[in-house]
């Protein structure tokens, strides 16, 4: 049994200048052991309930991917790089594969493009459901969160049937995808799942997005305007909530998106509520895109490039060159810059996660003056994803 006075004495002997820092402020470690931050730490200088100063402290998930990728063959890196964005692991696969395809100059067969687009959209839907779960847990309406996680499980099952894995499906490889769609029953199940989730959206509206208390909680919290957002490199739904209609799927079309019809929801007032509602509308749009893809149906043909280089993957070489590819993830503009020097390993892989812009400077500036109760709401409304900051 150690009494507190002894602890204080010991601390003073060790020279720890104890808090409060100033006359009337104190230091608060928000995370990493906290329910609202998944292994990401914010050091807050608090004055009562108000945040005076915030410092984001990333790096708890750093594994040095960009170094490891230089030591592994091209295709092995797929199994590595997808761990950069845990909620939607298909996005790093896709950007890396697109960059490699561009360096080699491969034209993907249509079936591969269809499968990639479908997988990306499924990943978006599941990531948005996961985000709804997080937001409602932070807001305290646990019912919606539980339901969202349960609906996400249906997509997980579909992923498992398609790729063989629940979360880390190492599926999108340079030159197509790893294996073909199992059968038509999978397509039917996907259609049923899309219909099911579409039918469940009103529940979320009643519980979260149209709730009086949610409006009171999120209105006018963490406001950023267009100029600020552009200067800070904000992308994705966060910048669309400030009135900038920037969506990579439209601005820099890839895969099948030029042929698909969908809207880009844009709201003007860039507060937490606007960001949340933009995500809510985008979930609807993604379900609509999936419906269109299912209407289109997978075109016939090979599901990956017919190339003898793909026979011996460890010796798979890529001509010298570099390429930048980016896709629209639920977090924002997710880009990869790949440099090759003609060997069987990449020379340099740089992954650009959107959260490196959202999670550091934007967060630090939005948190100043917020109440402690708003900190988790602002975090969730920015949809900050620590793994792609740390990489």
């Amino acid at each position: 049994m150690v009494s507190q006075s002894e602890l204080v004495k010991e601390a003073r002997e060790n020279g720890m200048d104890l808090l409060p820092l100033d006359k009337d402020t104190y230091e608060l470690f928000f995370g990493p052991q906290h329910m609202a931050t998944e292994n990401f730490s914010i050091i807050l200088k608090m004055d009562g309930h108000r945040v005076v100063k915030a410092i984001a402290n990333p790096g708890f998930l750093h594994r040095g991917f960009e170094k490891l990728a230089e030591l592994r063959p091209w295709h092995t890196n797929i199994a590595l790089l997808l761990r950069i964005c845990v909620p939607e692991p298909d996005v790093p696969e896709a950007i890396y594969s697109m960059a490699v395809d561009e360096i080699i100059g491969w034209e993907l067969p249509e079936r591969a493009q269809w499968i990639r687009t479908t997988v990306l959209e499924m990943a978006r839907v599941s990531a948005y459901l996961f985000w709804i779960m997080g937001l409602s847990f932070k807001l305290g309406v646990y019912t919606a969160g539980q339901w969202a996680a349960a609906y996400r499980e249906r997509l997980m099952a579909l992923f498992e049937q398609l790729t063989g894995a629940r979360v880390y499906h190492i599926y999108t490889i340079p030159g197509g995808v790893r294996r073909d769609i199992p059968n038509d029953a999978w397509l039917r199940r996907l259609r049923d799942t899309v219909e099911y989730i579409k039918g469940k959206l009103p529940d979320f509206d009643h519980l979260v997005f149209e709730n009086y208390i949610t409006f009171r909680r999120m209105e006018g919290i963490g406001v950023m305007d267009k100029k600020f957002a552009l200067a800070e490199g904000v992308t994705g739904p966060n910048i669309r909530a400030t009135g900038v209609p920037y969506d990579v799927r439209r601005a820099d079309p890839y895969l099948l998106y030029p042929e698909l019809d969908f809207e880009i929801p844009v709201l003007e007032d860039g507060d937490a509520l606007a960001r949340a509602l933009v995500r809510r509308y985008e979930l609807e749009q993604d379900l609509y895109i999936l419906e269109q893809l299912l209407e289109m149906g997978p075109p016939d043909g090979p599901y990956k490039v017919q190339d003898p280089k793909l026979k011996n993957l460890p010796r798979f070489k890529v001509p010298a060159g570099d390429a930048f590819a980016h896709v629209e993830s639920t977090k924002g503009d997710f880009g990869a810059y790949v440099v090759s020097d003609g060997r069987n390993k990449p020379y340099r892989v740089q992954i650009r996660g959107p959260s490196i812009a959202h999670g550091i400077r934007v967060l630090e500036q939005l948190l100043v003056g917020a109440r402690i109760a708003d900190v988790p709401v602002i975090l969730m409304s920015l949809d900050n994803c620590p793994p792609d900051i740390d990489r």
């Binding site: 052991q33 708890f60 594994r63 040095g64 997980m156």
Partner: protein
């Protein structure tokens, strides 16, 4: 004074049936916690629930790889828990580095720095595997072999030596004081 040893079987039953988890997702495996807690695989059936406060938690889930920066927090959080406490590690990364076997920033052998009771294989372990590991740790509590907290007390010098070799001496004070200059804007003077 009552001899509490008489009640040990009851206590063990209670400890087995109500394992509270520290809400600390240290890696990829954190993505499988929500499915485990929610209605697909409902862990609350076994009386488990995530707990924001380490003071009242029993089970520490090391979900995935551990970086040194996280390991410092893990150790501090682990020492905050009251005895008896149990540690369960997800996946092959805490066991031997797994896919990060040559990464400079991922712990290779977690059991050098903390006593681990159960390690689940796989990358990443499916929820069924996690539930299997939880059943295993329940059995170990029942037959009294989940004694990591005792081992930590007995071999504290060994663990402390490894921790200090990894982080350098006096890392706790350094961690506690690191951000104060930046919060006080005292960087200029120092």
């Amino acid at each position: 004074m009552v001899d509490w040893r008489l009640f040990e079987p009851l206590f063990d039953f209670a400890r087995r049936k109500s394992l509270w988890i520290v809400a600390f997702c240290t890696g990829c495996g954190g993505i499988e916690m929500p499915p485990l807690m929610t209605s697909r695989y409902d862990l609350e059936r076994f009386g488990m629930m995530p707990n924001p406060a380490p003071r009242m938690a029993d089970l520490f889930l090391i979900t995935g790889y551990v970086t040194p920066k996280t390991l410092k927090r893990i150790i501090i959080t682990y020492e905050m828990q009251p005895d008896p406490k149990y540690v369960m590690a997800h996946g092959s990364c805490p066991l031997n580095g797994g896919i990060y076997w040559d990464a400079y920033n991922a712990i290779k052998h977690l059991d050098r720095y903390l006593p681990v009771d159960v390690i689940i294989a796989g990358c990443m372990p499916r929820p069924e595997a996690v539930m299997d590991g939880i059943n295993k740790i329940m059995e170990m509590i029942e037959n009294g072999t989940a004694d990591g907290w005792k081992r930590y007390k007995e071999n504290y010098e060994y663990y402390k030596k490894n921790q200090d070799e990894l982080f350098g001496e006096g890392w706790r004070e350094r961690e506690a004081r690191r951000w104060i200059p930046w919060l006080m804007n005292r960087k200029k003077e120092e």
